[in-house]
């Protein structure tokens, strides 16, 4: 078991024939992901990486039965691509693109929600179910199969955390890079219950960052709903308070958002919070009594 994606998941790629799309689609295919086709408007009918190319997501879905889309479309067109996926009945869009305008993503997410499509990202490494299905740009071999679910805002810290977990002789069920943009898709609060319900996941690692209040909301949720051990690290404990121009940011977050506040809230919810990013693996092993 795992969450959201597995060896049977059929995936299409939007922005399939571009440089990034091509490179990473190849890596995903090599990993074993069922990439069943791609979409590049104007290139419909061609074959790329041995898979069919379609002009629209709707055609791709009808022809292949894909339920997930991996999006590599350039920033100016990302929101359009996300909304097209939602309109075509895609169930999960994994948005890798970095640099999409926040306003565009705000509209795209509202439409996705209305259509019942889940999103991950943008600006994220994607999602991987170890040794089954990689939808994203992470180096696959770091993610050995095991009992730990991973949710992270940061890309390279996801790799770091997985690496430490594997070095302890453990491994990963599914790892999700949720991204750190102002508007993101699935977050801790939606992913935690999925891991709680997954019989193979025995512990959850949660990597957060300064800024926003998602980790605080997650802490409240964990307290009420999560019984599996959770290990957390918050990056940016020593980041200097940025130079600011106005007051509005401080007013809206009500003073929440520092690493210390997030760590305190998580500790109060019974989470094993590590101060040093080098202690993630060890702490997971300890929490699992290994």
């Amino acid at each position: 078991m795992s969450i959201l994606v597995n060896k049977d998941t059929k995936v299409i790629v939007q922005g399939f024939t571009g440089k990034e799309g091509t490179f990473h689609s190849e890596q995903c295919i090599e990993y074993g992901t069922q990439i069943v086709g791609g979409v590049t408007p104007g290139k419909g009918g061609q074959t790329h990486l041995g898979r069919p190319v379609f002009n629209t997501v709707k055609e791709a879905v009808d022809a292949t039965g894909a339920t997930v889309s991996m999006i590599f479309v350039p920033p100016a067109f990302t929101a359009d691509a996300v909304m097209e996926a939602a309109d075509a009945g895609i169930e999960l869009a994994v948005i890798i693109t970095e640099g999409a305008p926040v306003k565009d993503m705000m509209y795209a997410k509202m439409y996705a929600t209305k259509k019942g499509m889940k999103t991950i990202g943008p600006n994220c490494p994607g999602i991987i179910t170890a040794e089954e299905c990689k939808i994203g740009i992470m180096p696959g071999f770091i993610f050995k199969k095991g009992p730990v679910g991973l949710i992270s805002k940061s890309g390279t810290l996801t790799y770091e955390a997985s690496n430490q977990v594997v070095k302890e002789g453990l491994g990963i069920t599914t790892a999700v890079g949720i991204g750190g943009d102002p508007i993101i898709g699935l977050s801790y609060k939606q992913l935690l219950p999925m891991f709680e319900a997954d019989p193979e996941t025995e512990a959850i690692v949660m990597i957060g960052e300064i800024g926003g209040t998602l980790e605080i909301e997650a802490a409240e949720f964990i307290k009420q709903n999560i019984t599996k051990p959770v290990v957390a690290f918050i990056a940016g404990q020593t980041a200097p308070k940025g130079k600011r121009m106005g007051h509005a940011g401080a007013i809206i977050s009500g003073g929440k958002g520092t690493a210390q506040e997030k760590m305190d809230a998580l500790r109060a919810a019974g989470v094993h919070v590590v101060e040093s990013p080098a202690d993630i693996g060890k702490t997971v092993a300890k929490a699992l009594g290994k």
């Binding site: 926040v102 690290f233 020593t238 121009m245 809206i252």
Partner: protein, 390 residues
């Protein structure tokens, strides 16, 4: 990206958000000319820097004659203004804004920002406008009225009424206020802003609403849609080293410590600063070299780090994924030939082909390159090296 008050007010004018008349000046005589053109007998000279809190720091001054305008402008130009938002090093005043003095009957606060929880823009208003707004937010948050505005329906009358009645406005003030708020919403959405703040928004003796102050910030990712805004960028407001770094796709922030850091990925870069502190050291910088980490970016990274004379050691912490560690190791060796690195460099490479990378570094046998096995080991060695204990 942030802009100056005078630029924000120019945008406000285009959208029908009422602001006092004014003009920008770069010298005393120019300030005098602007004041003369504005006419009247009361002016305000305002330092144009990308930070708030100018009033309290002496960056906003009233003038009652043209001579006074000129004198104040001359004093202000070139001065280093230190406010609670500039950091202790302050900001140099390069231009001033000369504005007609307003007849302030009451000061309010009005702001807009993205609310990450509701994932919508939110407008905030308070009767406690003026220079103490953050204190108001911290101590009496109930005095701040907030409305989230669903962009699919846009600004509606009820949003405006909620704010207007919340502020306790009189009957005849409600319509002009709502008109003001709606115009502000349009500016925010049209221009892909991520912050607008009017503090104070004033009611004048004749019952008009006017934006006396204007702070605006924009979503960098959306600047490609707005060449007019992108053109307003003032590089003199930004740290030259950060600007230089950005040219090479690097993200650099200077800090006070002595352990230089070079890392791939913002999260890992922050975590690296954290672990240096955890091991008893002080990071000298934040540096994210991005996913590429090729010889050129690594060489540029060394150059940026070494510009800071406080740096006593460098911790290179790279997690190789798609880019393999052996290639990064070669990149580091090449970079140390391009840039003279005269402090110990602790290198931790993990991920794809980490063992091969360790071999390469060992065989290169360069005196000041110290290999590390993992994150904790690397941080410890870098801290020790900075203290001269390695």
């Amino acid at each position: 990206m942030n802009i100056h008050e005078y630029q924000a007010k120019e945008i406000f004018r285009q959208y029908g958000v009422p602001v006092p008349r004014g003009g920008v000046a770069f010298s005393g005589p120019e300030a005098r000319r602007v004041a003369e053109e504005l006419g009247g007998n009361l002016w305000v000279v305002k330092a144009q820097i990308h930070a708030g809190g100018r009033g309290k720091a002496g960056g906003v001054k009233l003038a009652r004659s043209l001579d006074e305008v000129e004198k104040i402008a001359e004093e202000m130009l070139g001065m280093i203004l230190v406010t609670h938002q500039t950091g202790p090093e302050g900001k140099k005043v390069e231009k001033v804004y000369i504005e007609e003095g307003a007849d302030i009957q009451k000061e309010y606060y009005l702001g807009m920002v993205l609310d990450r929880s509701s994932e919508m823009p939110v407008m905030m208003a308070s009767t406690e406008g003026g220079m103490e707004i953050e204190e108001v937010a911290a101590k009496t948050p109930e005095k701040i009225i907030k409305v989230a505005i669903d962009p699919t329906i846009g600004f509606q009358g009820f949003h405006g009424r909620k704010l207007a009645f919340g502020l306790g406005l009189a009957k005849e003030e409600i319509r002009p206020f709502i008109k003001f708020a709606e115009a502000l919403y349009n500016v925010y959405m049209d221009k892909d802003a991520n912050l607008i703040e009017i503090n104070p928004l004033i009611k004048t003796g004749s019952g008009e609403f006017l934006a006396l102050d204007a702070k605006m910030g924009f979503d960098d990712n959306a600047l490609f849609k707005h060449p007019d805004i992108a053109e307003m960028r003032d590089l003199s407001e930004e740290d030259p080293v950060e600007v230089e770094a950005a040219k090479y796709g690097l993200s650099y922030v200077n800090l006070d410590g002595n352990v230089g850091c070079m890392v791939n990925g913002a999260g890992l870069a922050m975590a690296t600063m954290d672990i240096i502190k955890h091991e008893g050291g002080e990071p000298a910088n934040f540096l994210d070299v991005g996913g590429g980490a090729n010889p050129e970016t690594v060489a540029k990274g060394f150059e940026l780090i070494l510009q800071d004379e406080n740096v006593k050691s460098i911790f290179v912490n790279i997690f190789g994924g798609i880019v393999r560690c052996d290639r990064i190791a070669n990149g580091i060796l090449q970079a140390t030939k391009q840039v003279e690195v005269n402090v110990p460099v602790v290198v931790r490479l993990d991920g794809t082909n980490a063992e091969e990378a360790a071999e390469i570094l060992k065989n290169a046998n360069i005196k000041n390159i110290i290999p590390a096995t993992d994150l904790a080991d690397g941080a410890r060695k870098a801290v020790a090296a900075a203290k001269g204990e390695l």
